[in-house]
């Protein structure tokens, strides 16, 4: 076996945390190796060690059989290792060619000038060799996310990378772009490159990888052959116990319309219509899902609905009343709970303790803040009951929310919002960056609320999640609802196409239009 990269007993400690604990990892040349694990399992830390960003506390890094010690990414690059970060390291106003050659520009006139022709032809040669579709002269800000990712890969190849590390490469892509990426990976390994692919998605690891290494709590809990494993087996390795992946839910018993929006228009700060004439309604006892690639207007839609921003057109009704101009506070008082997508920015005050965080949004109510003074003993009881009931760990109401892990922060927010006795729960990416155990828990709670007759509006970019939980599912693309579908009668591929802005059936545009009208008229008086 020809090992391209061998990490031998890597341990990496941060103050108070062991991010990697004696991890072994051997990656064979010319293969795709997936590094699978939950958030916080230590995948990215391990790869940062390999890329020279972190110094390991203990252990050896071997590249091509020789022990190496990387002081900086520059050393790793020189050893033929390239990393494609989750957040692209690209300079927006520069061109594709300028970005690929940044830091390694071909020079002429004794270094006095960049040889722009040589740079451009090097980029063209590389992209032809690996069959990449990129425009060398386009500015990064003008090209799609998928193309930006190919630019990142080309950047690593240009630097002579033999081993490519991809950190969560699919997080920002549409399903079609993910498929394109996997084809690119196949082409790269066919030409002898080695790929290490960090992910927390089981399906992708199984689809793209030859071998899968699972990390849990900073430890390597097993390396398996992708062809000989099952999703359930991998999930168990990741979490350490059996996990129910499919949500089991009884049919919805829907009641009255709780919230409705019609012809909603929200402009972003540039004056572009982020939400462009959207209409829908959510009934008591149902989960109305909104799927879509991030950045297609979901955030703006939710901000308008919850009262964080004022829509530029259209109307919002809540419990049969026009609340378009009502404040956020009055909407909370009416029973609209909100799990924000950015929990650290919008959901919690990070240096407040959990007692204080427990009454954010209800500090003015008669229950917690009678006569303008906060009833601290009662507030503490409330915080402790949330901690208890929603299994927030560590169970200490005096700890600051900052000291909690992401999953526990999220459970606390979920608890706080659910305990408001809401009529409507607006849940934006409620399980983003949360470990599998907590995901299960949050899903169960959402379905319990649904059973109690609460209306739920769920926005998520995780297809499995919205598809599994929703009773009706809208797909949002560029500020509009492409369609409102029955999630059980729609395949993942069809949803993927909708998310990419394409209607599945080009021939039956008429049908799609009709369906859309149905969806829209179901959503309000949009004749």
């Amino acid at each position: 076996m020809d090992t391209a990269v061998h990490l031998d007993g890597i341990t990496k400690r941060f103050p108070g945390v062991v991010a990697n604990d004696n991890v072994d990892l051997a990656v064979e040349r010319g293969t795709v190796h997936a590094l699978l694990g939950e958030n916080g399992a230590g995948k990215t830390t391990l790869m940062n060690v390999l890329y020279g960003l972190y110094d390991p506390t203990a252990g050896r890094v071997l590249v091509d059989g020789a022990e190496r010690s990387f002081e900086s990414p520059r050393d790793a690059i020189d050893a033929g290792i390239g990393m494609i970060h989750q957040h692209f390291m690209l300079v927006d106003p520069m061109t594709v060619t300028e970005n690929i050659t940044l830091g390694n520009e071909p020079k002429k006139w004794g270094g006095l000038a960049v040889d722009r022709e040589a740079a451009r032809s090097a980029v063209v040669d590389l992209s032809e060799r690996y069959g990449f579709d990129v425009d060398p002269d386009a500015r990064i800000e003008d090209v799609s996310v998928g193309e930006q990712q190919r630019v990142e890969i080309l950047k690593a190849l240009y630097r002579g990378a033999d081993v490519l590390i991809l950190d969560e490469p699919t997080a920002v892509l549409t399903p079609q772009e993910v498929e394109e990426l996997f084809e690119v990976l196949e082409e790269l390994t066919a030409q002898g490159k080695t790929i290490i692919f960090i992910t927390h998605k089981l399906g992708e690891a199984m689809r793209a990888a030859d071998e899968i290494t699972v990390l849990r709590d900073g430890r390597n809990v097993g390396t398996v052959d992708a062809a000989e494993t099952t999703r359930e087996g991998l999930a168990e390795l990741m979490v350490g116990r059996e996990v129910l992946l499919d949500v089991d839910k009884p049919p919805a018993e829907t009641g009255d319309v709780v919230a409705a929006a019609s012809d909603l228009v929200v402009e972003d700060e540039r004056g572009v219509r982020a939400v462009d004439g959207v209409g829908f309604e959510v009934r008591a006892g149902e989960v109305f899902g909104i799927a879509g690639v991030d950045g297609n207007g979901q955030s703006e839609l939710i901000e308008a609905l919850t009262g964080l921003s004022t829509p530029d057109g259209g109307r919002i009704e809540f419990l049969g009343r026009d609340v378009t101009d009502d404040s956020r506070r009055s909407r909370i008082d009416d029973g609209m709970a909100y799990i924000p997508e950015d929990r650290q920015d919008r959901g919690l005050v990070m240096d407040f303790d959990l007692v204080e965080n427990a009454i954010l949004g209800s500090q003015h109510t008669a229950e917690f803040g009678p006569n303008g003074r906060i009833d601290w003993p009662h507030t503490r009881e409330h915080a402790e009951s949330i901690i208890d009931e929603y299994d927030v760990r560590p169970p200490n109401a005096d700890s600051t929310s900052e000291s909690l892990s992401g999953g526990n922060q999220q459970k606390f927010i979920v608890g706080r919002e659910f305990e408001r006795d809401p009529e409507l729960v607006v849940a934006a990416h409620p399980t983003r960056g949360v470990d599998v155990g907590s995901i299960e828990f949050i899903h169960e709670r959402l379905l319990e609320l649904r059973k109690e007759g609460v209306a739920v509006l769920l926005v998520s970019s995780k297809l499995e999640e919205v598809q599994g939980l929703s009773d009706r599912l809208a797909v949002m693309y560029e500020g509009e609802f492409m369609d409102v579908v029955d999630p059980t009668a729609t395949t993942e591929e069809e949803l993927g196409l909708l998310m990419a802005g394409e209607r599945p059936d080009a021939d039956s545009t008429a049908t799609a239009e009709t369906e859309r009208d149905v969806g829209a008229s179901a959503g309000g008086e949009r004749a």
Binding site: L53, Y54, P73, M89, D92, L102, G103, A113
Partner: protein, 359 residues
């Protein structure tokens, strides 16, 4: 397909929008100039005639160039610094310290060029202090920049007081004007070829700066450092070094501007806001209006300086345009450009600290 067309239409629109404010201001200026020229030609005895005389006067151009020198040098320096991600509002202070030091060193050595070098060194040292404080110790760039200004504003007149017994220095020799034979005799534009050496240095600096940004690797690194320092860092280039280099270059350029300002007059005057009198701040306006392009910054400086030169000559002709009114034009322009139209593209990471390896 339709999406692609829509996309390119958007791009066209944004290009138009990007330039519209500048086109508007430049257009209004040109139209006003044309009005004065045509009106002055038709009615030579009216106020328009006087305006036209002033506009076509070779003295106006030569004064505009002279007034441009410190502002344009400082603007070039500001471009380097801010493009690398360090907002340097201490340009005013760099001009003050170099203006004083240039005179002092010339006074000591009797050589204008050694004095010029002394001014540059003083400015570089102050810029180095600014760089250490903002890059190494991660101080707020705006506050550190203000500190640079206040230090120089206090230090230069104080030093003058201690050394020469007053805020104004004695006069020293000035460098003579260099005239290019034949070309200097061209009417009006001849002013370009019969000027102080500092004007030629400025032309050189504008051209070189443009070349550095557009053609050299260092220029690209400076741009990347101000737009997405992490991209530069992961490409194996030290952001800290690039930023130090850029801030020091801003010190060199501002130092040349400050030294030229005082040496062309042969004296440093340190009363009130000193002889620099806000030129460093106008420089910031100039490079913003020039959209961080060295040539654009020079042209906008020339516009501001031209207005200033015109009012001097108008006063000589007996028409009083209040000086204060002229002096606020650059700031009015910047409010129009930044607040109303807002199309100047400020580097994404300008003002942010960067530490390698930080998640």
């Amino acid at each position: 397909m339709s999406e692609a067309t829509a996309g390119s239409a958007d791009a066209d629109e944004s290009v138009l929008e990007r330039y519209s404010s500048r086109v508007l201001v430049a257009g209004v200026t040109l139209a006003a100039l044309a009005l004065f020229l045509v009106g002055g030609w038709l009615f030579p005895d009216t106020i328009l005639g006087t305006f036209a005389d002033v506009l076509t006067s070779r003295n106006t151009l030569s004064a505009a160039l002279r007034l441009s020198v410190p502002i344009a040098f400082a603007a070039l320096g500001g471009i380097f610094s801010e493009k690398s991600g360090v907002i340097n509002i201490g340009l005013e202070g760099l001009l003050i310290i170099s203006a004083f030091t240039a005179i002092y060193v010339t006074y000591l050595t009797g050589n204008v060029w050694i004095g010029f070098g002394g001014g540059v060194v003083a400015s570089v040292l102050l810029a180095l202090l600014f760089a250490v404080v903002t890059i190494e110790f991660r101080a707020d760039q705006i506050i550190a920049g203000l500190a640079v200004w206040l230090i120089a504003l206090g230090l230069a007149p104080f030093a003058s007081q201690v050394i020469f017994g007053g805020p104004n220095t004695p006069t020293v020799a000035t460098p003579g004007a260099i005239s290019v034979p034949v070309l200097a005799d061209i009417p009006f534009f001849g002013a370009l070829f019969s000027a102080s050496p500092s004007v030629y240095l400025l032309f050189l600096a504008v051209g070189l700066s443009w070349y550095v940004f557009e053609r050299t690797t260092f220029g690209r690194w400076v741009r990347a450092s101000g737009e997405n320092p992490k991209a530069l860092d992961t490409a194996g280039v030290s952001v800290t070094r690039v930023r130090y280099a850029a801030v020091l270059i801003s010190g060199v350029l501002s130092g040349m501007g400050g030294a030229a300002l005082s040496l062309d007059l042969g004296q440093f005057t340190g009363n009130g806001p000193t002889m620099v009198n806000g030129k460093g701040f106008i420089a910031i306006v100039a490079y913003l209006f020039g959209n961080y392009n060295p040539v654009g910054a020079f042209l906008s400086t020339l516009l501001f300086a031209g207005l200033d030169a015109m009012q001097t000559y108008l006063q000589l002709q007996g028409i009083g345009v209040p000086r204060q009114l002229i002096r606020i034009t650059p700031f009015v322009v910047v409010i129009v450009v930044l607040a109303l139209v807002g199309r100047t593209r400020i580097p994404e990471a300008a003002g942010d600290h960067y530490e390698s390896g930080e998640e």
